[in-house]
């Protein structure tokens, strides 16, 4: 079906600007038209402004300039509440439900804001969850759900709460592949009922088949909006990628012949069990080893345990049982999935880059020369876009900040590097360069442990990998429990 020409657009965003406090311009004059009954896909690299645009449409943040029209009438959203009242709902990246409350309480709060009956919304959400392959008890606390379940719940609520339009930011990032496919089917049904659905995703393959129209953003401006029908018969993906980066992209195939011979063993996880904050075991009686020069990826199918395993090995989290042996004197560095856990976002980029040496040393005067030179070194290596090293780290876009921190950690001569979700929320180019960083760190003789929920990551990096399912590590080739395979590693 073709929505474009049929009628007036449902929502029009006109000349939207967003300049953050630090001076970072996230959007510069973006126009967007959204029609009823269409699935509208937003594409773009990290920092392109997709999330910001969705947040402006949902009332979560206010544009610095520009206006939003609904059915031709100008509206000002002061908060998500205003948008909900107008029938526009949003599912945020990951999840943004209140963790301490039950699913039912979250639902009734949304229902009230959207002006719907809470019980009815609850029923519809349960039905949607079922359609996505999840069982939901309205009385269970959100904090007790798995990341995948949380995301599914977030999406289910948004889909049912938005009468007019549903905005979804990376809705499938943490969902299982099966559920993602079910969701795509569901989206189509809702679109056929006349709702507008706006969705962002880095997984181009997934959305390539379902979008009616695609808007491509780059550095805060709109590059193009294409309707699916107008795409030539060939591969939708190729066309989209061409739009996104005209010079084309490297393929995934990587040369892994350069890997050095594995050296001495620096990490031995011995029959360890690790629990998450709620006490649920995410790793059960498991052993594995890592040597210098080796890269090992652990892929958690449902996203559980990623953070916990990294934290346990880095030493931030206690084991429930078992032991982790790290060779004495081993220098461990850790790139967490969220920048804020490894930095002070309010402090200048340069200070954040030198944070390790500042804190590791004795109390002394700051060596500004040293700070500037290491900042320049890291920024150059990471190719992050940093306007000034004395601006706060938070003034950078998420992807650039992540690069700075990742390179800081990897270039601090680690013996063991832990990388959590190397490509989460990163665009293709950034993902590629993180993969290169991991490989070069290993080739310098460090052991690298990658823990991720993204199946493509080991491929991208080109390394050994294991599957984490229900607290157990499995060999992807045999699907056998690793602990029982002698010499698996």
């Amino acid at each position: 079906m073709e929505a474009g020409s049929r009628e007036e657009p449902l929502i029009v965003a006109k000349d939207i600007w967003k300049i953050y406090d630090g001076g970072y311009t996230a959007l510069s004059g973006v126009d967007l038209e959204i029609y009823g009954g269409e699935i509208h896909v937003l594409l773009g690299e990290n920092g392109a402004g997709k999330t910001t645009l969705l947040k402006i449409l949902s009332g979560a943040i206010r544009p610095s300039r520009g206006s939003i029209f609904i059915r031709g009438e100008r509206k000002i959203f002061r908060s998500p509440r205003d948008a909900l009242k107008q029938g526009i709902s949003m599912a945020y990246q990951g999840s943004s439900l209140v963790e301490g409350l039950t699913a039912g309480e979250n639902i009734s709060i949304v229902a009230r804001a959207a002006g719907i009956n809470g019980d009815e919304l609850g029923k519809r959400v349960m039905k949607t969850m079922e359609d996505l392959g999840y069982q939901l008890d309205l009385r269970s606390r959100v904090s007790s759900l798995s990341p995948g379940e949380k995301q599914a719940l977030e999406v289910s609520i948004a889909i049912n709460a938005g009468r007019l339009a549903v905005l979804m930011d990376e809705p499938t990032a943490l969902m299982s592949t099966a559920s993602s496919q079910l969701l795509m089917k569901l989206l189509r049904e809702h679109a056929d009922n006349g709702k507008a659905l706006v969705i962002t995703s880095h997984k181009i393959r997934e959305v390539a088949e379902i979008g009616d129209r695609y808007t491509i953003l780059k550095r805060g401006t709109r590059v193009a909006t294409v309707t699916r029908r107008s795409l030539d018969g060939g591969s939708v993906i190729d066309t989209l990628i061409k739009h996104m980066s005209p010079q084309g992209l490297e393929t995934y195939s990587l040369d892994i012949s350069g890997a050095i011979d594995p050296g001495e063993e620096i990490l031995y996880v011995d029959n360890a069990s690790i629990a998450d904050d709620r006490g649920i075991e995410v790793l059960r009686n498991t052993s594995f080893r890592l040597r210098r020069g080796e890269i090992l990826a652990i892929v958690s199918i449902d996203g559980r345990g990623v953070k916990e395993i990294c934290e346990a090995i880095y030493g931030l989290r206690r084991l429930r049982s078992g032991k982790i042996y790290v060779k004495p004197g081993t220098r461990i560095r850790y790139i967490p999935s969220e920048v804020s856990r490894a930095s002070i976002p309010e402090m200048p980029v340069a200070i954040n880059i030198s944070m390790r040496s500042i804190i590791g040393g004795r109390i002394s005067l700051l060596d500004l020369e040293e700070i500037v030179s290491s900042a320049n070194r890291i920024i150059e290596a990471s190719r992050a876009n940093v306007p000034s090293i004395w601006k706060p780290l938070k003034s950078l876009s998420g992807g650039n900040a992540r690069r700075v921190i990742a390179w800081r950690e990897a270039m601090d001569n680690p013996d063991l590097l832990i990388v959590e979700e190397p490509t989460a929320n990163l665009d293709i180019a950034s993902s590629q360069s993180i993969a290169m960083l991991i490989r070069s760190t290993a080739s310098r003789g460090a052991g690298v442990l990658v823990v991720t929920s993204e199946l493509e990551d080991p491929l991208r990096i080109g390394c050994k990998w294991l599957i984490l399912e229900d607290g157990t590590l499995l060999d992807p080739r045999s699907s056998k429990r690793v602990g029982t395979i002698p010499g698996a590693l």
Binding site: E99, G100, E105, I109, V110, A113
Partner: protein, 307 residues
């Protein structure tokens, strides 16, 4: 102990606990919504002062109570403007408001009433309602120490129900757990907090009025003497649970009453300073044992959030 002295003991207990319980119940809701309001001390003092001055000039304790409520909530709303809307540090704003209130009430007292032994008001709040209260059978004299005592006892129970099983309760909890996310769910966090603070101001004003025109019949500089701060501390001691608030406040008041009776009985020779510091030592000990922070509303004390 014979029956009248037991009833006297319970009476003293309730007299001490009523104002604290009134404030603490509302402070519990306020803290569950993510705000820690140390300005209650100021609101209470302003309430005590207003009630006294109005009663002195109109001879109507009820009018005094009403104006105390009005000005108490005004102080609380002032706190809300600074801590919720301007997002200034809640704790410093609270302490400052209390400090300004001490100064302002003593200053205005001097200008309006004069200095020295304060003129007594004609009839206290309790006098005004005494015939009615006494006529309540069985527990009239003990339980109904003040007209607000039954209300103060009922509040924690009501709030326990409110937080446990109502939409309003969910909205309050959401604001305190994660205001950014609550906002995304369509909650007007600032409004929720402001309304609760205004209600707390009403309670603080009434509690202050109890002190000045209820128990004592007059006003003295800083006559609340830290009772507001105490109420805030007791909320923390009760781990933010309305069910635990009632016993916590009563136990605390019991220690206070027992401490005075202990001195009065002359049985044990302890430095009186030790007796007087008991409540604070007790508070610190409970803080130490209960490892308080864990159950706290996650955003308690922080004014910054975004949608």
């Amino acid at each position: 102990m014979d029956l009248p002295s037991i009833s006297g003991f319970i009476g003293s207990l309730l007299a001490i606990s009523t104002p604290i319980l009134l404030i603490a119940s509302l402070e519990l809701l306020v803290q569950r919504s993510g705000v820690i309001n140390l300005g209650v001390e100021g609101a209470m003092l302003v309430g005590a002062f207003t009630a006294y001055v109005v009663t002195l000039y109109t001879s109507s304790p009820l009018l005094g109570l009403l104006s105390a409520i009005a000005l108490g909530s005004l102080v609380s709303i002032l706190f809300a403007i600074m801590a919720v809307y301007m997002r200034l540090d809640q704790i410093v704003v609270g302490v400052s408001i209390s400090m300004v209130s001490i100064g302002l009430t003593s200053y205005l007292y001097r200008l309006i009433v004069g200095y020295g032994s304060p003129p007594k008001i004609q009839s206290t709040l309790i006098d005004a309602l005494a015939p009615f209260l006494r006529s309540i059978p069985i527990a009239g004299d003990t339980l109904f120490q003040t007209p607000l005592t039954p209300i103060s006892l009922a509040l924690p129970i009501a709030f326990w129900l409110l937080l446990g099983r109502s939409l309003v309760g969910a909205i309050i909890k959401a604001s305190g757990e994660d205001p950014s996310r609550a906002c995304r769910l369509g909650v007007n966090v600032a409004m929720v907090r402001t309304i609760l603070l205004a209600l707390e101001g009403i309670a603080s004003g009434a509690a202050g009025a109890l002190l000045s025109i209820g128990y004592y019949g007059s006003f003295l500089e800083n006559m609340t003497a830290g009772r507001g701060y105490l109420a805030v501390a007791l909320v923390i001691l009760s781990s933010w649970s309305p069910a635990r608030l009632l016993p916590t406040v009563l136990i605390f008041s019991l220690i206070e009453v027992a401490q005075l009776r202990l001195q009065a009985s002359g049985i044990i020779e302890i430095p009186y300073q030790l007796a007087l510091s008991m409540p604070y030592i007790f508070t610190l000990a409970i803080l130490a044992i209960s490892s308080g922070g864990k159950k706290a509303p996650r955003s308690l004390g922080s004014s910054e959030y975004e949608c």
